[in-house]
């Protein structure tokens, strides 16, 4: 993956840049020793690494503003970072950048149960937002798999999803307001604890803009009362196509499960070797979870099981206890770890219309043979957000490149099927060059024109999202 050549003028001013940052920030907030900056050289897309020129760890919105003012004045690129769990390289530094990490800003600023909102600093982890309101019977709905580690800052930047989006939506549907610092240091407030915006929906625009429009330092999030209970059912099928059809029929029937998860044979076997959840040996399985009181759960599962039976399931496994529920989820939750045990893998994130699931799964199978690389499928089937895991051998020369080419073909297939390149991970650097398959040049141009308004000099996370060739003129002019 190509990254722009570091700006030699910026590198030559390193000492004065550091001095200026140290003047406006408290001791310990600026890190520049090579041994220390190395910790920030990559995010969860570990194949690509580059230590930043310096790392700044502010403790408040004011310190973020001070940092950005200095960088803006001196023309220094800034790469914002939440917890560094991006699978797309969203927080990958460049050698000439100041990496701005919000990890020290993790306070809960206000919990307001009457209005069902919580206001937090964005360095706070996703799971600890729910943790802060759990005792009062509330939770924060978006639940990316990395929720133990990932920060709200990154969730807002990537508009993160999770397993329960089918019912609760993604970050943008649960975000009511932000405090954001623009590249020139101006602090703005978008939204608040009320439900809609007065003018343009700038909050909706900022969510998912991958840290290119501003640095979000505080967020007002909607919290929801915890459901009375939840219960999964596991269904085994003789083919992926049949499982895919079952998903579509469940949705059409008027039931809205909180989650419908899909796993294919490769993932099931890897998971069994790893976690021993006792899954049936089959081509494809679904885990469907519904919520409510016991009686409501029975009612919904009754409808779901009736539909499943029409698809000749090999097994329908209902849960009779919390322990059995946990076992049903155990395999799914360990799937990524299990796949990591058998090989290196690349995790894709394309979304397709649910109706296209059978066709796309079949094509991926065929392409797997053409490329000679195995693919496991484990994903959120209810909303069509696929996660094909392509297995490769990092030690085998050329295998990563082959895997990336295969991945690109799968994502193009997703777009052709009426879907998109990324459903919840973001573009980052990983899918930057594939943007041309989803967007015509003018569709990208208007997005870049929006960035021009927020960050005219293209200093904020400039080498991400758009193909480098498309953004070059703007980055160079900056």
């Amino acid at each position: 993956m190509e990254m722009p050549k570091p700006d030699s003028t910026v590198l030559s001013k390193k000492d004065s840049i550091l001095r200026r940052l140290q003047e406006v920030l408290p001791a310990g907030a600026v890190i520049h020793e090579a041994a220390e900056t190395r910790a920030y050289e990559c995010d969860a897309l570990t194949a690509y690494r580059c230590p930043p020129m310096a790392v700044v760890l502010p403790a408040s919105t004011e310190e973020v503003a001070a940092t950005l003012r200095v960088c803006h004045e001196l023309g220094v690129p800034v790469v914002p970072r939440g917890a560094g769990t991006s699978l797309a390289g969203g927080a990958l530094p460049t050698a000439d950048c100041v990496l701005l990490g919000v990890a020290r800003m993790n306070a809960v600023l206000e919990t307001d149960y009457e209005n069902r909102v919580i206001r937090v600093q964005t360095g706070r982890t996703n799971l600890s937002v729910s943790g802060a309101v759990e005792e009062a019977g509330f939770f924060y709905a978006p639940d990316p798999s990395s929720q133990l580690a990932c920060a709200i800052a990154g969730n807002v930047a990537m508009n993160s999803g999770g397993a329960h989006c089918l019912k609760y939506g993604v970050t943008t549907n649960n975000l009511l307001g932000v405090t954001m610092v623009l590249m020139d240091g101006t602090v703005v407030e978008l939204g608040g604890a009320h439900l809609d915006a007065p003018g343009y929906d700038l909050l909706g625009l900022v969510c998912g803009s991958e840290g290119q429009l501003g640095v979000v330092t505080e967020a007002t999030l909607r919290i929801l009362p915890k459901p009375e209970g939840a219960r999964p059912v596991l269904m085994a099928f003789s083919s992926s196509e049949v499982a895919g059809q079952c998903v579509s029929d469940i949705i059409k029937a008027g039931v809205l499960p909180v989650a419908i998860e899909f796993m294919d044979r490769l993932c099931i076997r890897a998971t069994e070797d790893f976690a021993r959840a006792g899954y049936p040996d089959c081509e494809a399985l679904l885990i469907v979870e519904v919520e409510g009181s016991d009686a409501e759960i029975d009612e919904q599962l009754g409808v779901i099981l009736q539909i499943a039976r029409r698809h000749d399931p090999l097994e329908l496994r209902e849960s009779g206890s919390a322990e059995e529920s946990a076992r049903i989820w155990l395999g799914r939750k360990s799937a990524f770890g299990a796949m990591g045990q058998i090989a290196d893998y690349m995790c894709l994130d394309g979304t397709i219309p649910v109706s296209a699931l059978p066709m796309v799964l079949r094509r991926i199978g065929e392409m797997s043979e053409e490329f000679g690389l195995q693919v496991g499928n484990v994903f959120h089937a209810g909303d069509g957000n696929m996660h094909p895991l392509i297995l490769y051998d990092a030690n085998k020369p050329g295998d990563l490149e082959l895997c990336e080419r295969f991945g690109a073909e799968i994502l193009k297939l997703c777009v052709e099927a009426g879907g998109c390149l990324t459903g919840e991970h973001g573009v980052g650097i990983e899918k930057r060059d594939l943007m041309v398959h989803q967007f015509a040049p003018e569709d990208m141009e208007i997005q870049m024109a929006v960035k021009d308004v927020f960050d005219p000099r293209w200093l904020l996370n400039p080498a991400k999202v758009f193909p480098l060739a498309a953004s070059r003129a703007r980055r160079v002019a900056g």
Binding site: N115, V117, S293
Partner: protein
Amino acid sequence: MLAPSNEADLAEMVAAAAGPLAVRGGGTRPIAGMARGEPLSVAGIAGITLYEPGALTLVARAGTPLRDVDAALAEEGQRLAFEPMDHRALIGTDGDPTIGGVVAANVSGPRRIQAGACRDSLLGVRFVDGRGSVLKNGGRVMKNVTGYDLVKLLCGSFGTLGVLSEVSLKVLPRPEASATLAWDGLDLEATLAIMTAALGTPFEVTGAACLPAQDGRASATLLRIEGFSDSVRYRVGALAKALAGPEPDRVVHDPGEQAALWREVRDVTPFADAPGDVWRVSVKPTDLPRALGTGGFRHLVDWGGGLIWTLVPEGTDLRAQIAVPGHATLVRASAETRARLGTFHPEPAPLAAISAGVRAKFDPRGILNPGVMG
């Protein structure tokens, strides 16, 4: 009037326009202020282009009448979850509301508190910008973080950033049953207490509103529950038990009666024939008491207290009487009052600059609905 019948014609007309255009769909929601310019109607660009009930998605051209969308969805037992308001009675317009108009104005109804607003159901847009280029953003899948979310930006932009030509929406199943708990004659303080408590339970209230007293009828505080029949029955009981304070006076099960009640809330019909201006105030629910104004006005409350419709004597500046965070929109008023007070809440300077900057990128010649939204 310019009346393109397809997207390509629309693009050509915008590109060729020598002066300002006043963009309209069905013309039933002139709430963002009146545009100067040659009328451009999108109503001719109509038709549902794709509907996949099993994927919960519908794609329609912008001029498609809302009633056609509703009818197609009803046939499959589905609906638009965000319950868009019909503005005709309140504003005194006629014509046929279009799906593009709903999106352009981000129109959402009582179910907004549980199912989200129009912007939350909107998956993709195609539109023609001020240069006459056809652009697209989003798509027809529920999870999509590819590039910037211009879908949200276009939703509620009242035709000032582009002329919508096609929208794709997430739709949801129509529930098997619903029930409405009703309390008569409660004041707003008691109403707010009930709504707040109800929305803090796990029983999934999909409507929390209060109709004002009128024509000898007492005010009605309403909570709605929807879902499968047994589940609705269970949750109605559980909710009534969970709420301290007065027992509900009635539980309405009749579908027709409920539809009528929630239509009154959604369309603000109690103020339809009443003289005066109508404001729409959006605040956090517990700020409701401080967002009512000081004139002893009449109010219709929705969104669990977060949305207040207020009827005031003509020319009253309600915005000046509200000192809590949030915003007030002047929905019904004379042209003179609208010009004097402004339809939308003024934005702080840095945000106003961003909005103006964004608008100039989408419409560099300033021809799309000039005078609307600042």
